[in-house]
């Protein structure tokens, strides 16, 4: 090595422009890659191990094999948490998508004042979950809340929104709709990206408004719908702040969401192994679901390159 340094070099220098660029690239992305390994890969690997142990934060984890998973599957509350979260997601995701897409379609008709409407609908989405939950707990208040006040002025007896085990989860779903404006900008820019010639052609063929919606707008929008669907499902399975703040998972576990039960297991009962097993199951579920959505997507998602052939 040292001799070669002193030799007059006729070979290409080791540090070519290309290598220089690669080294620079490695340095630029190094923090992100290190962070990825430290805060994503390592925790994932560690959590796979913790899920196979009995671990209460103090002391050392004791290996117990698949016992945590077996215990979970035999745990009535685990299944309750699964049911609550699935119910929530199955109702709230279609409602988010349909209501925000409908609003976007209405706003896309070149109406005046769209910017102001968009501001109002978007606003709740930037507010803190804790403050929102406190506000809605007050609106839902059985005796003095605004909702029951309005209902009683119509001569109706309002329900016990958060105190009735048959209604509490639906109350949380209702309040979740308040933040659906988050998706408006994505829909609106997707709608604006649809070429107007398509509509003109459809109109020439005598298509009415409904036919244009179902044969032009929705197919052209399907990639955006797919994106929103995946993001929404992942988001819905993480329901935590609302039940934590408003009901504590009650009454009678009617709003015990998956993540809330996971949190309880970890930080109230210090069953780290069991909580981590729950986290892994959620991870696998999300993975499978995303894979399924993408796998099924060719059936209904319209890809532009197909048209160009």
């Amino acid at each position: 090595m040292q001799t070669s340094l002193n030799e007059p070099t006729t070979r290409k220098p080791w540090l070519t422009l290309r290598r220089r660029e690669a080294i620079a690239c490695a340095l630029f992305i190094a923090p992100a890659v290190i962070g990825f390994v430290l805060f994503w890969v390592t925790p994932l690997a560690v959590s796979a191990y913790i899920s196979l142990t009995d671990y209460a934060l103090a002391g050392t984890p004791r290996f117990v094999g698949l016992e945590n998973y077996q215990r979970l599957f035999a745990d009535r509350l685990f299944w309750q948490a699964v049911r609550v979260t699935l119910t929530y997601a199955l109702i709230v995701v279609p409602m988010w998508i349909i209501s925000s897409l409908t609003l976007a379609l209405i706003m896309n008709q070149k109406l005046r004042g769209v910017a102001a409407f968009r501001t109002v609908y978007y606003l709740p989405a930037v507010l803190s979950g804790v403050a929102t939950a406190m506000l809605w707990a007050w609106l839902f208040n059985y005796r003095s809340g605004l909702l029951n006040g309005l209902l009683s002025s119509l001569g109706l007896q309002g329900p016990n929104w958060l105190g009735d085990k048959n209604i509490a989860l639906f109350s949380i779903i209702l309040m979740s709709l308040w933040t659906m404006g988050w998706y408006l900008p994505i829909w609106l820019s997707g709608l604006q990206g649809i070429p107007t010639e398509l509509y003109e052609a459809a109109e020439m063929d005598g298509a009415n408004a409904w036919q244009r919606l179902f044969n032009v707008t929705l197919p052209m929008l399907s990639p955006v719908i797919l994106y929103n669907l995946v993001i929404n499902i992942i988001f819905a399975t993480q329901l935590f702040t609302e039940p934590m703040m408003m009901t504590g998972g009650g009454p009678q576990f009617a709003t015990l969401s998956y993540v809330l039960y996971l949190y309880d297991n970890a930080f109230s009962y210090l069953k780290m192994g069991q909580a981590t097993a729950m986290a892994w199951l959620l991870f696998l579920f999300t993975l499978a679901l995303s894979a399924l959505v993408f796998k099924l997507s060719p059936l209904w998602v319209y890809v532009e390159s197909e048209r160009r052939g």
């Binding site: 430290l38 994932l44 409407f117 507010l127 403050a131 007050w138 959620l282 993975l287």
Partner: protein, 297 residues
């Protein structure tokens, strides 16, 4: 009918057109009605939050509801400050948010520049791996990260909430990379001719041109950090270290048996004020950043 066959198609066409125009006007009217009704429904909760915070407790609980807080009870807020050191918590939240914004901007823009412009074998594979984490529910990592930070003795400090931001965030790297890709290469080539290194190109050409994207990243980081609940809930145990979100929870929890809604709503109103002001000041960037990643992803 038979007598006017020659003019019939014409009048029919014009009546059809008139009919159409009338119909579209009706659709417009209905659209406005729906949008305005929706706006009212969306604004009522916030209206109720602010007005409750300015009522006496008797008026807040009154039946049927009192719509306007007359006269406004501003002293509710001074009462709140006496029992709830809001400014301490706001200071904590602001400090954490500022550090997270700083860390995110620097590290994410560095990585985004690398991914957008510098070639290296395997670069795109790494980028895809990073993006895959966006599909991962964050709670999966909460416990192992907690164990890790506990081993580092970082529990009950701000480190777990701040340090990770200095290692970039996949979402923001993605957003900035997409933006960098739209910047014409000629600008960099000219700088390179003048002998500028990569770091200088990043700092003196890319960053100034990426202003709107950087603002969007800063805004999202701020809102995300200010509103974060689970992180501070898990890591902070000393009350004087609480962020606004966690402090609100303890305020509400402490009143569980006899909630004083006028004070709770005053605290909630103060806590959302920064995000609301930011939203109105920078709405353009909120929406731009989201559209940027949302559709092009």
């Amino acid at each position: 009918m038979a007598g006017i066959t020659s003019t019939a198609p014409l009048t029919q066409a014009s009546s059809l057109r008139r009919n159409r125009r009338w119909q579209s006007r009706l659709v417009r009217l209905a659209s406005y009605a729906v949008l305005i009704a929706g706006c009212i429904v969306f604004l009522i909760p916030l209206f109720w939050q602010v007005t409750t915070s300015l009522k006496t407790i008797q008026d807040a609980m009154r039946w049927p509801p009192v719509w306007l807080p007359l006269p406004p009870q501003w002293q509710n807020y001074s009462e709140l400050f006496k029992r709830f050191p809001f400014w301490v918590y706001a200071g904590n939240s602001a400090f954490i948010s500022a550090m997270v914004i700083l860390g995110t901007l620097v590290s994410s823009s560095l990585a985004a520049y690398g991914f957008a412009r510098l070639r290296m074998p395997g670069r795109d594979a790494i980028f895809v791996l990073l993006l895959a984490t966006l599909m991962l529910p964050g709670v999966v990592l909460v416990i192992p990260q907690f164990v890790m930070f506990q081993r580092l003795q970082w529990v009950n400090t701000y480190n777990p909430l701040i340090i990770p931001a200095f290692f970039g965030s996949p979402f923001f790297i993605f957003l900035l990379r997409q933006f960098f890709l739209t910047i014409p290469r000629e600008l960099e080539d000219a700088a390179r001719m003048d002998g500028a290194g990569y770091l200088r190109i990043w700092g003196q050409i890319m960053l100034p041109l990426a202003g709107p994207a950087l603002i969007a990243v800063a805004i999202y980081s701020f809102v995300g950090t200010w509103n974060d609940f689970l992180g501070p809930l898990i890591y902070l145990s000393d009350r004087e270290k609480y962020t606004v979100a966690v402090a609100l929870r303890y305020l509400a929890g402490g009143m569980r048996s006899r909630p004083e809604y006028h004070l709770l709503m005053a605290a909630a109103t103060l806590s959302i004020l920064p995000c609301i002001l930011l939203f109105f000041a920078a709405q353009r960037w909120f929406i731009q950043g989201q559209v940027f990643t949302g559709v092009k992803g």
